[in-house]
Amino acid sequence: MLIKRVQETTERLRDNVEKVIIGKREVIELMAVALLCEGHVLIDDIPGIGKTSLAKAVARSLGGIFRRIQFTPDLLPSDITGVYYFNQKTSEFELRPGPVTANIVLADEINRATPRTQSCLLECMQERQVTIDGETLLLPRPFLVIATQNPIELEGTFPLPEAQIDRFLLRLKLGYPSESQEKDILLRFMDDDPLEHLENVIEAQELQELQQLCRKVLVEDTVLTYIVNISRATRSHPGVRLGMSPRATLGLRLASQAWAAIQGRDFVIPDDVKQLAVPVLAHRLIIDLQSHLRGQASEDIIKEILDNLPVPVEESQC
């Protein structure tokens, strides 16, 4: 049972990350989904919740190169992608690769950079390559961008362009911890930062093998149709200005496969699709002004669609 390997590895990863992040098991599992799909993650929540800690804990749990970029308004594209500089000793132009050439890139406070700088990640995120001075370089695999952003602060921030938002497989929200969890956090961080002692539990090579396994998880034809129907329903929903893209449909299928594998199944069930629909789709929808004024969020629309769309199940006998 090869698929059990995915489950076991995910459990190892989860246990490791839980040494730092307390009480957010589902979010950690969704991070594992992103790793297994090689999809990028946008962690969107208020300050001080543990976004960066989560990203760093996941990155440290993985072997491979990890780089962090602190996005600021004066950050330039070449600061991310890299630059050719003139080496006076050799009298030649030499490449100084940017922090994007890593396995895990943490883009902290991504919405603080200017749109020009943000856009330099588009090629990296979709094609897994970077172009510097007309020369295209392949990025190391697996390649994953974990970005964080703060939805509250608007001053000095630049909203992410739609093209970039669509490139994030998942958008995660951590939320406040419960009372007991918060107490556990206090105790856990009493002596020192547990992040410092975190070991890697999964190698990049192993992760790539698991990614291949996840792609072999069976998605039955009617479940595929169900995914497509969700996608189409978002496009025709009256409260939505821009529905799901085919990339999002593909992402939902991939994420469902990974989720099924994490549960130890080698086939996808509609529950997997429902479970992943909000994290995969909600950030890609653009709702219209009226829905917005009514206080309807994109998550509500996705849930409404899921509550009305027929699930592929047996019909009762007549």
């Binding site: 549960q263 080698d266 069930i269 027929p310 199940v313 047996e314 019909e315 006998q317």
Partner: protein, 496 residues
């Protein structure tokens, strides 16, 4: 107001629909009457709308039941006697009582031969029954559906009997086509009424437009067929000829202004032997050539067949939908669009493959296998069990919602079951999920165990409390996951 209008149309359509099979029955029986003393069926049939209107009037008056029965009985007796008198004993005067004795004499011979008096009595009885039924039950989907089922059976029996006995009655095919067409219209109207009650959607408007177009074309066709004859065509052609002659005269008048060319001597034309051309047949524009008529005839037959097939398909699919609704007591469950079509096509495909497999076993056997290999016997059995479970749940008042996954539905039913039954329910759901979404049964539990679970489960009764349905299928999944994690944690501890 619109609903009333639709309702009245539906009454008319149902009445005409029933008239088709009643008419066919009466016409067939009329052909069997002894001594050529046949009735005029139109007069007999007129009893039907009269009875219908009479009963609607009685219903609106809200009289007591026995009074209505008495009036109906009286009307039946009078109507039948009047019909017999006007149709069969017209030579006697109304006040002459001797026709009654003649009627009695003829009735006594009923056992020797089928007398028209008996037909009149049977026909009047039938028409009274149907008229009373329609007026009291109203024109609803149930009435239209029942009329269709009953009428179709009667029509088939009549056609079969007429084939066996060699008795042909006029307009048999026309009545069948009209019956199918009217049933289609009736069903359309039922749907339209329902949809109007719920929401005036675009699909309803499309259906109405379609129905209107079909009705318009048929009416125009009937009008054209009844009015256009050879004289009318001749008149039209004469008018066209007159207009053409006027045009020719105008052209000739204009040409008269041109100078005439002088006479010139031309060499004699060479004599070329010309092949003999058979004299062309006179072309009569109002009589179509035989091949075209043949093709048109075939087209009409084909169109009629298509109409019958569409009517049968639509009506049966609607009946199936209604049955599904009835089974689940009107609860909102999955509408299963195209299920009937899929089932029908699936059955047809299986039949075709079976036949081809018998004819060409060496070539098509593998294709048949490919069609059926997707579903092994175990998978089919488990899906069948789950279908039964869904029906069981629906009958108990807890139908599966359209958007519920098997695990969510499991969570709904678990709260309604005693603790003993929950294990069986989980076992069946687990098995179904594997069978349905994994499409094979290599890893599942033995089929007998699942059948046993179902046998035990069906003995339980679901609680019919007013408790709200919970749709947290993930709770069960979460429990399963927690159990797995606990077991894996224990394993690790043991290893440690």
């Amino acid at each position: 107001m619109k609903a009333n209008w639709r309702g009245e149309i539906l009454y008319a359509v149902t009445l005409l629909m029933e008239s088709c099979w009643l008419g066919a029955l009466l016409l067939f029986l009329n052909e069997l009457v002894a001594d050529g003393r046949q009735l005029c069926i139109i007069w007999l049939w007129l009893m039907y709308p009269v009875v219908f209107l009479l009963n609607r009037l009685l219903r609106s008056l809200e009289w007591k039941r026995y009074r209505c029965y008495a009036i109906n009985g009286l009307a039946f007796a009078l109507g039948t006697l009047l019909l017999i008198k006007t149709q069969l004993y017209a030579e006697y005067s109304l006040l002459d009582g001797s026709w009654l004795s003649a009627l009695g004499g003829n009735m006594s011979q009923t056992f020797q031969a089928f007398q028209p008096e008996l037909l009149a009595i049977i026909g009047c009885g039938l028409l009274f029954w149907r008229g009373w039924h329609l007026a009291h039950h109203g024109a609803t989907f149930a009435t239209v559906g029942t009329s269709f089922q009953f009428g179709l059976s009667i029509l088939l029996i009549i056609l079969f009997l007429s084939y066996l006995t060699g008795v042909s009655f006029p307009n048999a095919i026309l009545l069948v086509i009209a019956f199918c067409f009217l049933s289609l219209v009736g069903m359309g109207l039922c749907r339209s009424t329902e949809a109007a009650a719920e929401q005036a959607g675009a699909s309803t408007r499309e259906l109405q437009l379609l129905l209107f177009t079909v009705v318009l074309i048929l009416l125009l066709g009937l009008l054209a067929g009844s009015f256009i004859n050879s004289n009318l065509l001749q008149l039209l052609l004469d008018a066209l000829r007159w207009i053409w002659s006027i045009i020719v005269k105008i052209i000739a008048f204009l040409l008269s202004f041109l100078p005439e060319p002088g006479p010139a001597e031309l060499p004699p034309p060479p004599t070329i032997p010309m092949p003999e051309v058979p004299p062309a047949e006179a072309f009569h524009p109002w009589t179509l050539p035989e091949p075209i008529r043949d093709i048109l005839g075939k087209l009409v037959v084909f169109g009629s067949l298509v109409l019958i097939v569409i009517a049968l398909y639509r009506v049966f699919s609607d009946i199936l939908r209604r049955l599904r609704g009835a089974v689940t007591r009107g609860a909102t469950i999955e509408p299963l669009p195209r299920t009937f079509r899929a089932n029908l096509l699936g059955a047809l495909m299986r039949l075709i493959y079976r036949i081809l497999g018998i004819l060409f076993p060496w070539r098509l056997a593998y294709r048949h296998r490919r069609v059926t290999e997707g579903q092994s016997r175990e998978v089919g059995s488990i899906r069948h069990i789950y279908r039964s479970l869904l029906r069981w749940g629906a009958e108990a008042g807890w139908p599966r919602r359209v958007s519920e996954t098997p695990y969510e539905y499991l969570e709904t039913l678990r709260t309604m079951l005693p603790a003993d039954g929950r294990g069986q329910l989980s076992c069946i759901t687990e098995a179904y999920v594997i069978a349905r979404y994994r499409q094979n049964w290599e890893v599942g539990e033995p089929l007998q165990q699942i059948k046993g679970s179902w046998e035990k489960l069906r003995r339980f009764k679901l609680r019919k409390t007013g408790q709200e349905q919970t749709h947290a299928g993930s709770n069960y999944l979460q429990e399963v996951r927690n159990a797995n994690q606990t077991s894996s944690g224990n394993d690790r501890e043991i290893e440690g």
